[in-house]
Amino acid sequence: MLGVDWHGLVTGIRAAWRREISAYFATPLAYVFVAIFLLVLGIFTWDLSRFFDTGAADLGPFFYWHPWLFLLFMPALAMRLWAEEASQGTSELLLSLPVSLSGLVIGKLLAAWTVAAIALVLTFPWWITVNILGPADNPAIALTYFVSLIMAGGYLAIGAAVSALTRSAVLAFVIGVLVAFILTAAGWPLVSGAIAEVLGPAAGDAVAQFSFVTHFETAQRGVLELRGLFFFFGFIALCVTLNTLFISQRRGST
């Protein structure tokens, strides 16, 4: 159907996912990532957002930081996905395998996404705490967690695609953070407001629609917008396509 090599796709996804999960957990990388993420998110929520001072059974101060932390942490998680393959010469091994390139790209992304999901799951004490503080809107919290996970996939997709452009994981991280920052800050009232003042309200709104924050804020209000889901999944699909294209170009120039 549609000329897609499903068998090669599934084989590639499975092999790459297993390989990357093994790479994350064979070294301290995943453990350190999860620990630092939880620590920083905890400090920001507790200290900067004064979580307990609000006196509300609301995880808003906790979710507020997600886009801002993701823009740093997700490129860090994804930076080595393809850059390391190039620097260690293993991309030659990967390209010689009888699997679909898109499958490898998706499998690697899903592995990083799995680590991000584990980090999010381990924030459950915040959810329990908010229920102890008072009656919480648990369906809205569950929805926000869900959209947060999808958003994490968007940030990871940026990091993975950028990682395919370079042999240096550090450079991939820096460029990944920069791109992620632009896509986050575009929805910040300070930025969209400034654009609206200079180019008009329509331009400000249009720029804000390309921001992760805009679509995440809708979910934080307990509203599941299909437009938001389309945005995130469409963005991830775009990044996966670009990532596949960048890797396939190695076939022409290795």
């Binding site: 092999a15 297993r18 064979a26 010689s96 395998l97 290795t254």
Partner: protein
């Protein structure tokens, strides 16, 4: 089993492979010789599907590497130059990954892994991180990975590079054992190995075939034997602009 049809690759400033054509049959072990930069590795990368040919094709068991890449790649065992491996994995987890990537069934996987561990003689290091292995062991892990799906065509780029004499002998013995059932293309710099391993030799220079002989015929073509013949042939062509 393997048929190259006018395979060509040019990079920005030079022609790396200038329309190579040859066939390789089951039971043949072809020594692919040439000096550094002659186009050996580029040719092997194109056959393995790592590099896209600019023109021409390679048919692997009838499957075109340009139009049916996955089918062609499933027929090939490829040991790249330098045997790049995932250093954080152990040989066992790496071989399981390769078995997954070749879509071996769960029931076949264990047998395949056990078989190649025995063939490559790496049983004593299967649980050790690859990063801690010697160059020789890493090469043997790469060789084991190339054999995991029991492919009919083997492409071995410098398979004995970095091995000690005992390990080299073991690789030669392994190649000899596999030779009757496979078509094997070996790139090597070590001329001494050619008569011991290969039934046929192709010498390339600047992307062109300059000799296609048996090792004996090539050695007898010059008083100085194989080495003199190789030196004469290996730089016999003028460089070709792109």
């Amino acid at each position: 089993m393997l048929e190259l049809q006018n395979l060509k690759k040019a990079f920005e400033d030079h022609v790396a492979v200038a329309g190579l054509s040859f066939t390789l049959q089951k039971g043949e072990v072809l020594g692919f010789l040439g000096q550094n930069g002659a186009g050996k590795s580029t040719t092997m990368r194109m056959i393995a599907g790592v590099l896209e040919p600019e023109s021409g094709d390679a048919l692997v068991n009838g499957h075109s590497i340009t139009t049916a890449r996955r089918a062609a790649q499933s027929q090939i065992g490829y040991l790249p130059e330098g045997a790049p491996l995932y250093r954080d994995m152990t040989p066992l987890t790496f071989l399981r990954f390769m078995a997954d990537a070749h879509d071996l069934r769960r029931s076949e996987r264990k047998n395949a892994v056990d078989r190649v561990i025995a063939d490559a003689r790496i049983g004593n290091v299967t649980g050790q991180p690859i990063a801690t292995l010697s160059k020789g062991y890493r090469r043997r892990v790469g060789l084991a990975a190339a054999l995991i799906h029991d492919p009919p065509v083997l492409l071995l780029d410098e398979p004995t590079d970095g091995l000690d004499p005992i390990q080299k002998r073991a690789v030669r013995a392994l190649v000899a054992r596999m030779a009757p059932e496979k078509a094997i293309l070996i790139s090597t710099h070590t001329l001494d190995e050619v008569p011991a391993m290969c039934s046929r030799v192709i010498v390339i220079d600047k992307g062109h075939i300059v000799a296609d002989e048996t090792p004996t015929a090539l050695a007898e073509s010059k008083p100085g034997g194989l080495e003199e013949a190789f030196i004469d042939l290996a730089d016999s062509r003028e460089a070709e602009p792109c």
